[in-house]
Amino acid sequence: MAPNEPAETWKPNDLNTDYDQVLPKIITIVTTFVKDDLSVSQDTGLQADIRMASLQVMELVLEVEDEFDISFPLNRLPDIHTVRDLAQEVVVAVNQ
């Protein structure tokens, strides 16, 4: 499956959820925060490329929590620099 194609069979809290299933959803959410025509990929930097302010990153977390029905404490944000970092953390949270 291509990274940008959502998995039709994916459900929240699916214990088999893995990175390739999470990433497209993350990219879709992150794209809503992009103000120019930047194409979001797993390598996109939330602050370096999209220039998201800390408040926007916290708003992004709210959206991600709701999309995946997870708790995502803000304490984890210092380690989140790219879309990939975020997707990897979500995979961990979904499978907990």
Binding site: L55, M58, V61, L62, E65, S71, P73, L74, N75
Partner: protein, 389 residues
Amino acid sequence: MSLFDKFKQFQDLKQQFDGMLPFGAVTEEILSPTQAIVNGQNVILAGTNNYLGLTFDPEAVAAAQDAVAENGTGTTGSRMANGTFAEHIKLEQELAEFFGTRSAIVFSTGYAATMGTSATLAGPGDVILLDADSHASIYDGVRLSGADIIRFRHNDPADLEKRLRRLKDREGDTLIIVEGIYSMLGDVAPLAEIAAIKRDYNAYLLVDEAHSMGVMGDKGRGAAEAAGIEADADFLVGTFSKSLGSIGGYCVSNHAELELIRFATRSYIFTASASPSVIASTRTTLRLMQERPELQRQLWKNAQRLYAELKNLGFEVGPQASPVVAVRTDDADKAAQWWQELFALGIFVNLVIPPASPAEFCLLRCSVSAAHSEAEIQDIIAAYATLTQ
């Protein structure tokens, strides 16, 4: 890469507002609770949080003067060392009596009270659920706590409930933090709904009453009193620097453990205690606030008038009338221009720009006082009206 690179954003901001006053305004002379000379200009003070207008009350001024004469200008030490004077204990007793709680802690500032309790009550392994629009002192505190920090959407009990549900068996170790009145838009927390959710999930609730103590409730105890949920509020925190016209903060609680929390709260332990004059004037204004319920009625009369008139003028104001009346614009340059025009017309308000504002918009924020005369409120309205022309 330099140590100072991260400050460049403030250099940019400084250049954007170069020559403008809002962030460098100097109050040269305070004429009354509602008037001053700022940068050579006579102004009506419409952004001071002096809700009850008690800063020049003769009894409070005399009490402060007497305290300086009797106990000196400062305590020169922390509460845990040499800085607990008999008057600090009396104020704590009076606060506990006022709120009907088992005990109270007095802090040197409101920031120290809110930040310190937010940092201390929950710790590693616990969870803090905070309203997204919480004050910076709460965000600063929870970051120090070591607890898992989760935001819920502003004033949205259903969103809070959803996030509590996700915690599953961790909910009993959870501290919910909300404010009574939010400082930027003046909206009131739906405390009855939040308290019901808190009960359902067996969580703890802290309410920051900084902008609602003296402003809400029949006795002036704040938004928790007004909502009838004081029994559900495990901790109430607040400040003396708004309705009580001095400086300092408090935390009150019915939990016996508050006296243990005192020993763990670093913003209480490792700072000098409030000076005798501050404690004396605070004790006086706490009493005056209870003796003069008409001040709260006048405050709301002024607030409702200003809110209604600015709304009628077509300004985008907060969601409900309260003593914080904020006009919103998405254009930072326009906000700065409006601030300058209001100042030139003799009206001093707060200019709030991101990141101090709750989102990406700017605010021209008024805080109304019971001490504002009808003529002063009219002058504020008339000045805002010129912005629409």
